[in-house]
């Protein structure tokens, strides 16, 4: 009944609508909870971890799970559980900073291409075509092998190979938005181009950009794990899940279970991010139909027919 009452006062704001739709999506909530869990773990890794993740203890190497070492120890006696905890930091830092970088670079390129159009647009779009026609992983490997595996390089090169989708998206939005009347009005009163682009237009393209950003986070986490697995990403004594996997594969014959934990962590983190991203996308898309489960539909039908009878 309260819904009817609010109708007469003020319509629900767009942000609220999106929130409501997001929180009515079970997968999205699950993803959010999982993601928050990993974020908390990453933030408090140093206080949760029972051991220093880089501490070598050859006397207790390759031990199975025990009270002292919950998930056992690896080939040089490092505590697997502590290493997993610290690994979450790397994955999340890389995931979010690469996504942020890709969004900034992509928005910039897309905005310029979409707003100015003409030859600027043609040149930038061809550049994107070139970038998309080459496996990004190869470029990442090449740069890291040549310039050395610094953490900063890792993030920079991953940004450089993942901004294209955002740029295309922003360009598409700008092509539509630049024809709007408020743009014409802004131009008429003498607002400079860059201000129209970044104050007026970019704000209206926020929705799709956020969605692209969340989906980029997952890709970046997977990319980091791949590079670290190949030995080109995060270097010891720092720990990352991909690096643990490469270690686990080398000692697969001794202790195959160690290959399971880090991979599972990557899988769950990326899954969580993707669920959240899909949830935001669905919540923001007004065309998205709400899918009603069969069971609930049957319930409603039953109730409806009862009231009639």
């Amino acid at each position: 009944m309260s819904e009817v009452a609010t109708l007469s006062t003020k319509p629900e704001s767009l942000g609220r609508q999106v929130l409501r739709k997001f929180f009515s999506n079970k997968l999205a909530i699950m993803g959010l909870v999982m993601l928050l869990f990993f974020i908390v773990v990453a933030l408090f890794a140093s206080s949760i971890a029972p051991y220093d993740p880089a501490k070598v203890d050859l006397l207790s190497a390759n031990k199975g799970p025990s009270d002292a070492h919950w998930l056992g120890t690896d080939n040089i006696g490092r505590d697997v559980f502590s290493r997993l905890l610290y690994g979450s930091q790397v994955s999340l830092v890389v995931g979010f900073s690469v996504a942020a970088g890709a969004v900034i670079l992509g928005s910039l390129v897309g905005a310029v291409a979409g707003y100015f159009g003409g030859w600027v647009d043609t040149v930038l779009m061809r550049l994107i075509d070139v970038m998309l026609s080459f496996p990004g992983l190869f470029l990442n490997i090449l740069v890291l092998a040549i310039f050395g595996s610094h953490f900063v390089y890792l993030i920079l090169i991953m940004v450089f190979t993942s901004w294209m989708s955002v740029a295309r998206l922003v360009r598409g939005q700008f092509l539509q938005l630049r024809e709007m009347q408020y743009v014409e009005a802004a131009r008429a009163i003498g607002v400079p181009s860059w201000q129209i682009m970044f104050n007026h237009l970019l704000r209206n393209a926020t929705g799709p950009i956020i969605v692209a950003a969340t989906l980029n986070v997952g890709g970046a986490i997977l990319g980091e794990s791949a590079l670290s697995f190949l030995g080109l990403g995060v270097q010891a004594p720092q720990t990352s899940w991909g690096q643990m996997l490469s270690n686990a594969q080398q000692y697969m014959l001794v202790n195959p279970i160690f290959a399971v934990y880090p991979g599972l962590c990557i899988f769950l983190t990326v899954l969580a991010v993707n669920f959240v991203g899909d949830g935001i996308r669905d919540a923001m898309d007004p065309r998205q139909k709400i899918h009603i489960p069969k069971g609930r539909m049957a319930q409603w039908r039953a109730r409806f027919s009862k009231s009639r009878a």
């Binding site: 026609s133 080459f134 496996p135 190869f138 791949a226 594969q249 697969m252 195959p256 899954l271 899918h291």
Partner: protein
Amino acid sequence: MWEYLIRRIAQSLLVLLLISIVTFGLIHAAPGGPATMFIKPGQSPEMVAVQMKQWGLDRPLPVQYLDWLGRMVRGDFGNTFRANRPVGELLWPALKNTVILMGTAWVLSLLVAIPWGIYNSTRQYGLSDNLAAGIGYAGFAMPAFWFGIILQVAFALKLGWLPLSDMYSMNHRGEFFDLLRHMVLPVMTLVLINLASYLKYSRASMLEVLGQDYVRTARAKGVPERKVVFRHALRNALIPIITVLGLDLPYIVGGAALTETVFNWPGMGRLFVDNAMAREYTVLMGVTVVTAFVVILGNLLADILYAAVDPRVRLTGKGVTSA
């Protein structure tokens, strides 16, 4: 049509050239350049200079690039620094091995994904559709190489059914059935990555077409459902799938590189990874150019096929326009 083709081929060649220039530039921008490859500690500067001259590294960069380009066009990729072997000797067998692995996985995933996607589009949110959605989520969120490792642990170590890695067993080199046994696990890994996206696209594309008016008309005039799906809808649904196949290629090639590393498969990806660490720049250039060539060729074929399947696509000199 011809004008379009020539234009597209010219564009592709330009892209290839660009990629080779960028790669060449990157390799030579490295601190110390490729010379750090063969300088041994304790060598006198004169010795280094002699070696630089021997490899032609003392010349200006553009000259070096043009020299490399000229030889490459004639099929000579140069020699490796360490073993002084022609790069082609490493490159072509590796390409063959990658094509065997990727090609099998690709064909298999298409054979599974397209019929399954069609089936799911006719029975939305059923058991099979939900299972496919699950595979999609898993495939997009799982590091492919991890899935490979898990398969190794399960089927090679625990069950002992299949070989752990490599392409052939020690004394069965070149035997077909031995190759097949070695291919099962890496192909399964690659199929999972491909399935995730192909299933999603084929389903979405079918759903889009099934919602069209002409499909409703077909149903209304009494065309049997089978015919509606396969005759009327499928043909149009295939068009976007072809585009995705072309666009997905770089992604698949990247995934194949990791899978090859996990399974010790002597392909292009592993060749690249191994030589990136060793900074064998002739090999890196070779792999880069050949990979880019294959990917760009794939995109070109996808575009041409696209025009062949869809009569609405008119190929003019100014790119693809649909009427």
